[in-house]
Amino acid sequence: MTTLFPCAFFALAAFAATAAQASELTVEITDLRTQKGAVMVALIDSAAGWDDGSKAIARRKLTPEGDQLTLQFADLKPGQYAVQVMHDENSNGKLDTNFIGMPVVEGYGFSNNPRVMRRAKFDEARFEVGAEDQRITVKLR
């Protein structure tokens, strides 16, 4: 079954580390509705990787503390990136959805916070990282 949020989208496997260059990206995640489970963050650097769902260049798994969290991705090359976040409240490794693929009980979010009620597209979530360090905020919905 094809859904809005394929399981592979936030797959837990392969916490890949990346090779280095200059900038550091700080991601502030806000609007957590509960303290349960884990918050999973994926950093992706291409539309193909975004669509594939399993081609993140870096992933983080965090334990909620309060209604927001902050994390860093270091040594990023200048370029385009996008971030997707899932709050896996029941720790089953996926974003739970209903029969049409709509997330119903767990939070999610994307860089740029596009106002769409579905998985954002890479173009909607992408942002530029240059030589300077950068900070973004992802609001969970």
Binding site: T3, V104, M117, R118
Partner: protein
């Protein structure tokens, strides 16, 4: 085409258009809307029906009884309707946007008492805490709205209320039913009938089968899909079956009709050409395209038969009969497709709409043998909120009871209750030019078996005295006027639909 793939694609398409554009409306024009309504209210006192509820909880209070309650009429009239239209100076522009408030009018040996409470949906709780509207609404562009997780994030639970299988449910149409405590009306939370159907659309107009089971539909237009979900819930409150009926194009549906054998679901075609970001702003009924009607066998939900009929807008279906291959379903048809998109839009802005809704009680006649469908009108104009005795059958068809406009009226709103026989004979009770008349439910007389033997129980808003009251009429002699009225000392926002729970 793979249905789920199909749904996925339409979701991506429609909702992207729905929610992507940044809004440029925040500012003085928006924040002036509440002030404009307040000015309008000073000039047109009947607008009190569209004012915010004075508070979110009304504790039990006795209502001043005039007349006498009929001996056999005991129970609770529950009513639901939008009651919270403004926050931080911003006012919704569409009546359907207001958050729901559920009222309970208790009729017992001591008289009539009333209590009410806002439905504490996740939306209401979040926005009440924030002091402003945060989430997208169905008919108004909300400035700086946050992204919704799903359709239930926008659920206002504001349209109807029913009691089924021991549960009191506040109903919307774009998402879950919300369970309430039947006594204190506190919110228990959204109902999930089955895990994979969590947050799926559940209309505000389910219909009861004679065995106590419940049929309902869920129009999927709001979540961007060209399909209707069919629900069948047992008398025990457990989901028996569900099905998705795919449609060939965008279609809006608010309620449906049913015979003993079939569900009749009419989808009103619309285009997405409108301006704005909310669903009703973008949606425009398409007068060139016919309405599509799915006639769905109750025992074969996956085998709908499709019919077409001249374009129309219908919010409310009433009874339906079926005999010798002919289905006859009665409904209130709206002739003005533009106005039908946002009923009483003027009242929401604090002005008088140039004219009342152009409606007519009609029959939709479906010929199953010849594959045709047509509208049959009998000239009964100006009504809404039709109800009927559910014991009505083909052999003995009962009356339709509805709120109508009769004679002079201060407000562009019904001021009377009418009963219309199948042969078209009409009886009317006119409450007066200062009274706005809401839906009245039919309550059968206990122990009686004669059709239409019972009472009509509903609410009215007296504009002159600025108070809301409960009225009780004898259904067979409604022209004689109320047997009893019970008044609150204040006016409540007008509501939509109710449910009488007999004890």
């Amino acid at each position: 085409m793979n249905r789920r793939r199909f749904l996925r694609d339409t979701l991506l398409g429609t909702l992207a258009a729905a929610t992507l554009p940044r809004l440029a409306l925040a500012g003085s024009a928006d924040n002036g809307r509440a002030a404009a309504f307040a000015r309008g209210l000073r000039a047109e006192p009947w607008l009190i029906g569209w004012r915010n509820a004075a508070r979110s909880v009304f504790e039990p209070t006795g209502a001043k009884l005039e007349g006498r309650l009929p001996k056999g009429l005991r129970g609770v009239l529950y009513r639901n309707g939008p009651a919270w239209f403004e926050r931080a100076g911003f006012r919704y522009q569409h009546w359907f946007d207001g958050d729901g408030m559920v009222h309970a009018w208790r009729l017992d040996d001591a008289g009539v008492s009333h209590r009410a409470r806002m439905v504490e949906t996740p939306k209401f709780q979040r926005e009440h805490a924030a002091g402003r509207f945060l989430l997208p609404a169905v008919g108004t562009t909300v400035p700086d709205a946050i992204a919704a997780r799903n359709n239930d994030d926008m659920n206002t639970a504001n349209t109807a209320v029913i009691e089924h299988a021991g549960r009191l449910l506040a109903l919307w149409e774009g998402g879950s039913a919300t369970e309430l405590d039947a006594v204190d009306l506190k919110t228990r939370g959204p109902v999930s009938w089955r895990e994979d159907l969590t947050a799926a659309p559940f209309s505000a107009h389910p219909l009861l089968e004679r065995d106590g089971s419940l049929w309902n539909i869920g129009g999927m237009a709001m979540i961007g899909a060209n399909a209707v979900l069919v629900w069948n819930i047992g008398a025990d409150g457990v989901l028996r079956k569900s099905a998705v009926v795919d449609d060939s194009g965008p279609g809006y549906v608010h309620s449906f009709a049913m015979t003993e054998r079939h569900l009749i679901v009419m989808l009103e075609p619309y285009t997405q050409g409108g301006e704005g970001q909310s669903m009703f702003e973008r949606m425009q009924y398409d007068p060139r395209a016919p309405c599509r009607i799915a006639v769905i066998p109750k025992d074969a939900l996956d085998q709908p038969r499709w019919f077409e009929v001249e374009s129309a807008a219908v919010y409310h279906w009433a009874d339906a009969t079926e005999h010798d291959g002919i289905i006859d379903a009665r409904a209130v048809r709206h002739h003005d497709l533009v106005q039908a998109r946002a009923p009483l839009a003027g009242a929401m802005r604090g002005v008088r709409d140039p004219q009342g809704a152009a409606t007519e009680l009609v029959s939709l006649r479906i010929d199953l043998k010849n594959n045709t469908a047509q509208w049959i009108g009998r000239g009964h104009r100006g009504g809404e909120f039709p109800v009927f005795d559910p014991r009505s059958t083909r052999l003995q068809r009962g009356r339709i009871y509805l709120s109508v406009s009769a004679g002079r009226s201060r407000a562009p709103y019904p001021n009377a209750i009418a009963a219309i026989d199948e042969d078209g004979r009409t009886r009317v009770h006119r409450f007066g030019s200062d009274v706005m008349v809401e839906e009245h439910r039919f309550v059968p007389r206990p122990g009686g078996s004669k059709l239409d033997d019972g009472w009509l129980v509903g609410t009215v808003l007296d504009v002159d005295k600025q108070r809301t009251g409960l009225s009780v009429l004898d259904a067979s002699r409604l022209e004689d006027g109320p047997l009893a009225m019970a008044w609150l000392p204040l006016a409540m926002p007008l509501g939509f639909h109710g449910w009488f729970s007999q004890t």
